[in-house]
Amino acid sequence: MHELSLCEGILRILEEQAEAQGFRRVRTVQLEIGALAGVEIEALRFGFDAVMRDSLAQDARLEVLGLPGLAWCMGCAEAVEIAQRYDPCPRCGSHQLQVTGGDQMRIKELEVE
């Protein structure tokens, strides 16, 4: 979707953290991206390298941890796993699902020096 904006958001957080936690360079950025976050990982990697150039995170490694999409099926009254928003319940085939997780996009951990 807007992977470049996301990378700019990441850089902003890195700069704030550098100030708060006293580091000068970022070697690795570890992200958690849910299956339902609408983020194209390859586009994110492309944008990451471009946005981090000439910053404290130039040449930093980007690690992406994928998280499953989770939903609550109203018919089954149970939590189920889905790969996309329009997937039916894998148990009963109903679309009466409320997404409960898997839409997160977070910076989890940094390797810094």
Binding site: H2, I13, V26, L31, G38, L56, H95, M105, K108, L110
Partner: protein, 284 residues
Amino acid sequence: MMCTVCGCGEGETVVEGHAHPHDHHPGDAHGPGGHHHHGHSHHHYGLGPARAHAPGLSQARMIKIEQDILGKNQEYAAANRLYFRDHGILALNLVSSPGSGKTTLLTVTLEALKDEMPIAVIEGDQQTSLDAERIRATGVPSLQINTGKGCHLDGHMVGHALESLKPLDASVLFIENVGNLVCPAAFDLGEAHKVVILSVTEGEDKPLKYPDMFHAASLMLVNKTDLLPHCRFDVARCVEYARRINPGIQVLQLSAYSGQGMAAWLQWLRAAHQMQVAGFRQDA
């Protein structure tokens, strides 16, 4: 380059009446709800390889930060939402593909309601102030935001727009987002509802193709229903697709051109406005 002082995404964003790059003076009355907490100057870290490191003595360490990538936008959106609540303003974020008839629907809606309640409009487009001019022709105050290369409005741009537009207390604020069914889904502006507009000249399967947007919307308006006899658009199937993505989504069918179905939409707006104003009067 982006504005590193207040974190404006693209430096090409232009809010009418708000020049970029802005002068950031300490103590600026900047933004409703205390939008800006500047106070950090421009820092440069790590230009080029780190120096002053003894070889072999790596100082690398891991730090956990657990921060939401869109956290900054969510802070701006939360400040806008607080502002809307404090002023009893019903803010609606109108989203659609380009060409769905959003601006026409909006002008017809404004003509119908402008004598009943105070209304203001924020228009988002990549370029031109044509839409804001169309809105101002109805007599309703309107402000254009040009996002430049940006594909969506964000909470920060809307915060700046509020400073200039200053919508009246207990008003309805329509925010017409950039025509795009993808990116605006992720960027909360502080609105009460996202309203997604889909016209019958488009594909009925758009809810499946752009699920994030239909998932985020409270209301879907199926527009241009006067053209249904000429199109192969299956309304029932479209609604079924939308409910697969979002079981709770409300759906109204209308034609801004013929007026068919407009009464139900206006009634929805009056009801939502009443709810917002009721909360406001209670607090006051």
